[in-house]
Amino acid sequence: MSAHRVAMLTLALVITAATGLLAEVRAASGAASGAEPEARAGEGRELFVARCSSCHSLDYMEMHARFGTRALWEAEVTKMRNAYKAPLNDEEAKAIVEYLARTYGPTSPAASVSR
């Protein structure tokens, strides 16, 4: 079906899900089964959560952290903008890449508690 129609139908649900995410997420360790991983602490976290988690859970970040180089995160953010049409301006994209490169990399401080 056209994405347009579904998007119209489910706008309210999307907002609910995104809002609920902030309130309900728990630790990324998997201790809270069914919960989506919480965004790791760091500068730029709020912008990242607001722009990225409306479409997907943050499992994707945890899954890539073991090899999450700056080049990887730049490529991913570029793909999200160009292919998936994530509505980010250049400044926001740059800030999100900075946050991801600092926070979801093999040597990031939080790496020791991820799975």
Binding site: A3, S33, D59, L72
Partner: protein
């Protein structure tokens, strides 16, 4: 459009489960820690499903734990789940409509599920549905994308109608180039490309290509395409559109992101027997056939001092010719005994009994070859998106004295 409810997917989870112990005396482990990293350690049960390995919750991407591959047919409740987009409608079978449209048709159609069930001959076949990126998480160096272990696949008995029969009723014109298939799911963002995939005429009209409404004797599970999905035996799951609501006969090649921009591989690295010429461009070609592959599913002591190894092998439907095992790092290979044949697209079970393995730790390897002369590779073929990993399966076992 027949969707009665549309939801943004957030998995409600009923329970966690612990991976069952694999063998009594011989313990099967993945070589190194790649598999553990790849698949994630969290097991969760989605609605209607047993506990599967979670990769991502939203959209839902869950893989089948290895122990389920000890049966040739994968149970519906354990069948892997893979979505690109998180807005997944729940479709009432009674309200479902399939539109068959396009400039290359004589007579556009709209069909109900009841019409599909009663007005066309029913066909059944067993076929493996395997994600193009199955085992991506085992590539070294790592490749971005869902970090699947071995379980982004399953084997089922599909029942439905031939796509060719539906297209015959609609009257395919001679100017048809490809058939495009639209899934009912959508992304939360309006601008994200809708998931639409196309097939070349030859594959679409092949008598084994089905619009399936049953899986292993039951209606399709909600998360595996209820009420109707495309079944493309021999080709990877990217083409097996779930909740297919629209078929379009095209007079020019499909050009959307999911064809032109995704699921492509360097052509030279992967000689394919079944190609998709209207979608080939430059060095890249679409993923098509499932590469020949195998999996060791259990090792256990049999008679005194003996060790029985069991597994499965599969390919794109050319047929499994042989499976060989090695306990000495590939210096010598022994031919396994092939089991029940459920058809050329199915998992083929196999087993081998070692009469005298020295006590201690060792690595077992398995490799399959098909009747087209293709054999699994020792090292996976590197490619930018991590598709078609079909290196020998290697497991470490402990043989008790």
């Amino acid at each position: 459009m027949g969707s009665s409810r549309t939801t943004v997917f957030r998995a409600p989870v009923a329970r966690r489960a612990v991976l069952a112990a694999l063998g009594a005396a011989a313990v099967l482990q993945a070589t190194g820690s790649a598999l553990a990293r790849a698949a994630g350690q969290l097991l969760e049960a989605l609605p209607g499903k047993r506990a599967l390995r979670r990769l991502t919750n939203r959209p839902p991407n869950y893989e089948t734990p290895l122990e389920y591959f000890r049966s040739v047919l994968t149970p519906n409740e354990a069948f892997f789940v893979r979505y690109h987009h998180a807005v997944i409608p729940q479709i009432d079978a009674a309200e479902f409509r399939l539109e068959v449209v396009g400039a290359a048709l004589e007579r556009p159609l709209t069909l109900t599920l009841a019409q599909l069930r009663t007005e066309f001959p029913a066909v059944e076949l067993v076929a493996v549905c395997q994600c193009s990126g199955n085992r991506r998480g085992l590539f070294e160096p790592p490749v971005p994308g869902l970090q699947w272990g071995h379980g982004a696949m399953g084997n089922a008995r599909w029942r439905g109608v031939r796509l060719a029969d539906v297209l015959a009723r609609a009257g395919l014109r001679s100017n048809a180039v490809e058939l495009a298939f639209d899934a009912a799911d959508a992304a939360p963002l309006e601008g994200t490309p809708d998931y639409v995939k196309s097939l070349p005429l030859g594959k679409a009209l092949h008598p084994d290509t089905l619009l399936a409404y049953e899986m292993n004797g039951a209606p399709l599970p909600a998360l595996n395409g209820h009420p109707l999905r495309l079944v493309v035996p021999g080709w990877t799951a990217t083409y097996w559109i779930k909740q297919v609501t629209r078929i379009e006969a095209l007079t020019a090649p499909a050009s959307g992101f999911w064809m032109a921009g995704a699921y492509r591989m360097p052509r030279a690295s992967f000689p394919l027997l079944e190609r998709f010429p209207s979608q080939e461009s430059g060095e890249r070609a679409p993923v098509t056939e499932i590469a020949v592959n195998s999996l060791i599913t259990s090792t256990e002591p049999s008679a005194a001092g003996r060790t029985r190894v069991r597994g499965i092998a599969w390919d794109a439907g050319h047929g499994i010719d042989r499976v060989e095992v090695s306990a000495d790092g590939g210096r010598t290979w022994q031919r396994a005994e092939l089991g029940e044949d459920l058809g050329r697209y199915s998992f083929r079970p196999w087993q081998f009994e070692y009469s005298s393995l020295a006590p201690g730790a060792l690595e077992l390897w398995a490799r399959a070859s098909n009747r087209a002369g293709q054999t699994q590779v020792e090292q996976p073929i590197a490619n930018p998106s991590g598709y078609q990993h079909n290196a020998f399966h290697r497991v470490r076992i402990e043989v008790n004295s």
